[in-house]
């Protein structure tokens, strides 16, 4: 009897992610959600720019690769072309919360019936570890070598909190994948974000606190612990908005 298998919606392509990076877990959770809802044949994914740029090789669904920050706009086009399709974006923090903040905010404000998977690891991974919009105060990166100084480099952006102010957003939840318990909660949230779209409930965004052992300069184990010690206290997990919670 199979106890655990690779989801159908993941291809056999070997992932290119660094050892200890949690993108792999998040990919699997997305694929499991697609499998469980039986929507593989009508799902279209939008890959972004960053470490997950080649997500189009890993999901078995039709995929388009968007310019840096523009995934929600591309997803808007795909969804408006055929609303019966299930459309998701997979974006990192630089993509979604810096160069693409405008597209993120406005797709939420419009209540686009799409699902956004927002992977927040507080750093630009692909380009070698620069300060991200979500880097923590004091965090050392290549472009904040003395630690992020909020006096000159500003404060991190808490996207879920910010987006929760918008009437157009339906479902916003922040989860993590650094423990079995957190992975199980993340799975529930991602599944719900896709189910919402199937049910026409509008804009859902799941912020997943992720790790970057390579650019954080930590072992994978230490990186998982750092999520508990530093990331989650600054980015509290939980549901920030659920427009349909009462009626469910």
């Amino acid at each position: 009897m199979t106890v655990f298998a690779k989801p159908k919606s993941l291809t056999d392509a070997p992932l290119h992610y660094c050892p200890g990076c949690t993108h792999g877990i998040i990919h699997r959770l997305v694929a499991e959600a697609i499998d469980e809802l039986g929507i593989e044949g009508r799902t279209i994914g939008v890959a972004s720019v960053g470490c997950s740029v080649m997500a189009y090789n890993y999901f078995t669904v039709d995929m388009v690769q968007a310019a840096h920050g523009r995934a929600p706009a591309v997803a808007t086009g795909v969804k408006r072309s055929d609303p019966s399709k299930i459309v998701f974006t997979y974006q990192g923090d630089g993509d979604l919360a810096s160069i693409g903040t405008c597209e993120t905010v406005h797709s939420a404000a419009r209540g686009e019936n799409i699902t956004i998977i927002f992977v927040n690891n507080a750093i630009y991974g692909m380009t070698g570890g620069q300060m991200a919009p979500t880097s923590l105060p004091g965090q050392i990166t290549q472009t904040s070598p003395y630690g992020r100084d909020v006096a000159t480099q500003g404060y991190p952006i808490k996207m879920c909190e910010m987006l929760s102010q918008l009437d157009g957003a339906s479902y916003l939840e922040r989860v993590a994948v650094n423990s079995v318990k957190n992975v199980r909660n993340a799975k529930k949230a991602i599944l719900k974000a896709f189910r919402n779209q199937v049910e026409g409930k509008g804009f859902s965004l799941i912020e997943v606190i992720s790790t970057c052992p390579t650019n954080w300069g930590m072992t994978p184990e230490k990186a998982l612990a750092w999520v508990d010690e530093k990331m989650i206290p600054y980015y509290p997990l939980g549901v920030y908005k659920d427009k349909y919670a009462e009626v469910q």
Binding site: T11, R42, I44, V53, V64, G77, K85
Partner: protein, 354 residues
């Protein structure tokens, strides 16, 4: 046959796009093209289409990319500063080999410039509309009727060659009203096996993408694309010739500059000067053959432009600088008068027959 109606150029573009089967329009307000969006906002909801006022020009072009990747006809329109913002998207459209229609109703620049007509985005449209090696098909209407017909043709060429077609119209073309006949074209159906329609579990997934990290692969893509561009150059270059048969002086002008030039040419002909007009209808591919053929009998060329002189380079290149080319130009939203063009023609005539 459809009846003749009086319409603004911008509205003619919008209705022509709908007749060409476009049901997805994304735009952002900017003068002098706003009527395209206003028309679409009225019409699209009535015919089951999408009109969406995007949060920015950048978002609008990326929404076009989204629709185009599903294989449907999509368009956006803007004016010069807005087109600059779309240039990243134009590069991605080319890199992904997606068909789309983009309208630029040009105004004076650079920077915020002005809101009066201009042709100063010629270089941007024919050379540098974004990073990387690529071209767009660039169509230059000179009447409201052509605003409509070239929009329809633009969609067809875009699908045929998997390219972006750009309507490059100066602000005059967008704002002026003329009688126009709007007839639905016969739509050619192009197979789009690459389109993202959902696998339905019946085929491997399609990927629309412009990232190729292996340089050999990326080089191959570029060479293949330019092979396609060569076919476009061979088949699609178009120009109108006016009184060129015996012309000793050849005026080259497009859009409103061509209309002004025609008046100057008629006046010059009355004075016995053998002058004609070559009006490029496609700016890319540039109608090089028309220029080269004219160089056999024309001793002098005149490029008339609403810019500091951009197309003049293509005129020179098309005949390997075999003949001198003068420039009659106004910039910043000004339009050359027929008298200014005529004065240059007479000056050249004096030189030729001195």
């Amino acid at each position: 046959m459809a009846e003749k109606v009086l319409m603004k150029g911008n509205e003619a573009i919008a209705e022509a796009a709908i007749l060409a089967g476009c049901r997805h329009y994304f735009g952002y307000p900017i003068t002098p093209q706003t009527e395209v969006a206003a028309y679409m906002a009225k019409r699209m909801p009535k015919i089951g289409g999408t009109f969406l006022q995007a949060e920015s020009e950048i978002a609008a072009i990326n929404m076009v990319i989204g629709v185009a990747s599903t294989g449907k006809r999509a368009m956006t329109s803007s004016s010069s500063p807005g087109i600059s913002l779309k240039c990243e998207g134009l590069s991605y459209l080319a890199g992904c080999d997606l068909p789309a229609l983009v309208v630029n109703v040009e105004r004076g620049g650079p920077g915020l410039g002005g809101i009066q007509p201009s042709q100063s985005d010629y270089f941007q449209a024919t050379r540098g509309s974004g990073h990387g090696d690529f071209h767009m098909i660039v169509l230059a209407p000179a009447s409201v009727q052509e605003m409509a017909s070239l929009t329809m043709k633009g969609f067809d060429l875009a699908d045929k060659y998997r390219m972006t077609s750009m309507i490059l119209a100066d602000g005059t073309m967008g704002q002026m009203m003329e009688p126009v006949i709007l007839e639905a074209p016969e739509l050619v159906k192009y197979e789009k096996p690459w389109a993202l329609t959902g696998t339905d579990g019946k085929r491997p997934h399609n990927i629309v993408n412009s990232l190729f990290l292996v340089p050999e692969d990326l080089e191959k893509m570029n060479f293949a694309r330019y092979e396609r561009y060569r076919t476009v150059e061979e088949n699609e270059a178009a120009a109108e010739e006016f009184m060129m048969e015996d012309a000793e002086i050849a005026v080259v002008a497009f859009g409103v500059a061509a209309r002004v030039s025609k008046n100057a040419i008629l006046a010059a002909r009355e004075r016995g000067i053998k002058v004609g007009l070559i009006r490029p209808i496609t700016l890319w591919p540039f109608p090089k053959a028309n220029i080269a053929a004219a160089a056999a009998h024309a001793k002098h060329f005149v490029s008339v432009e609403l810019s500091m002189g951009q197309m003049i380079e293509d005129v020179r290149l098309a005949m390997d600088c075999a003949r001198p080319v003068s420039l009659v130009n106004r910039a910043g939203g000004m339009i050359p008068s027929p008298d200014e063009v005529l004065a240059e023609i007479e000056k050249i005539q004096g030189g030729i027959h001195a």
